[in-house]
Subunit: 191 residues, 2 copies
DNA sequence: AAGACATACGGAACACGGTTCCGCTTTTCA
DNA sequence: TGAAAAGCGGAACCGTGTTCCGTATGTCTT
């Protein structure tokens, strides 16, 4: 039943795979240089391909962003349970994990903004980040509230949205996203 | 030195003033219908003028936004001292005032996003909102910290930035800006 | 009342970025 | 080695913001 599906539908072409890798590298570089909203033409030029090739491999910008940052998001997700084990208290683990997430976001110029965009093209981005990270956050929240350290029934999705929002414009000199996130974490505590 | 500057430079034309008012009304309507990023051509059409006329009266979108919302921003600014007088404690006044600001922001589709944009054209918007509201916020913060209710040295500008950020996307069904703002307010409290 | 002149107007034209589409090239497979 | 499939490039198109200039309108003077 698995495998020989009506005669192996011909594997992906070698040049195609090469282009996809070139595109990922080019996009990563462009994102660092000009943020995640770098013009499509720029990314194509960096990779030495035509714009059509970008759309063939990554139909929406969100797909490209997800592909570029997948590893880092995975790492963040996996850090959750580890922190829970290694930290003194669940609240400490939650705080550490959130700071990890914030560190990731603030170093990606424009990512937080993109996460927030209601542009349909970013639906994928939204879905991926949230599907992957919200459960981790929920687990940490649950542990902390069970331990009686924080308010009960905090919704992980809302919290992640909010944290993401606070990271917008984090590179402005007269703003301090980490400070604001710290206030939120403090606000979660039962007093 | 003041007044008669080289012989009265001819007053503004009547049609010009008429257009300006029509533009303000059209913009207000367009903002309600499609958010503060309503296409320039739409606003012009609603007002029954050409696009050039918009740019002549309001060189940047920020100027238009400021003009449309000036009254409401003023009201919010003036409410600060009043709340300080009428509330039980400075922290309560601060909380009420922030909620007032949040109410204003979340009812203006896209305003919070615009406030955050680093597009130079929004510099005016940024400047106006912040110049008008930050001092009020600072006064409230100062009263509350003097009363020993909240952490000392909280920067009003950072707080306003953060609150504004939290209001981005407030109309999404699975987000709750007010809840997040509440956490920040709670986080300010000394425990 | 009429002429002269500044003021303001409209909207065509341009700039820019995303997205689509199709003729051509490259790779794969037999 | 020669189809046929897969993939490619980039011209062309669309929607927005922005500029510019020939024309129209209001205002002031005589």
């Amino acid at each position: 039943m698995t495998g020989t599906e009506s005669g192996a539908p011909r594997k992906q072409r070698a040049d195609s795979r090469r282009n996809e890798r070139a595109l990922l590298e080019a996009a990563a570089a462009a994102f660092v240089a000009s943020g995640v909203n770098a013009p499509v033409r720029d990314i194509a030029a960096r990779a030495g391909v035509g714009v059509g090739t970008i759309y063939r491999h990554f139909p929406t910008r969100a797909d490209l962003i997800v592909a570029v940052y997948r590893h880092q998001v995975e790492a963040c997700a996996e850090a959750g349970p580890v922190l829970l084990t290694e930290s003194a208290t669940p609240h400490a683990a939650l705080a550490s994990w959130i700071h990890l997430f914030v560190d990731f976001l603030v170093t990606k110029h424009g990512l937080a903004e993109a996460m927030r965009s209601d542009d349909g093209a970013f639906q994928t981005l939204h879905a991926y980040f949230l599907d992957r990270l919200v459960p981790v956050c929920a687990e940490l929240l649950d542990a902390a509230s069970t331990a009686g350290e924080i308010i009960p029934d905090m919704d992980a999705l809302v919290l992640m949205h909010g944290i993401g929002n606070l990271c917008i414009g984090a590179d402005s000199p007269d703003y301090d996203a980490r400070l604001m996130v710290g206030l939120v974490i403090a606000g979660l505590r039962l007093r």
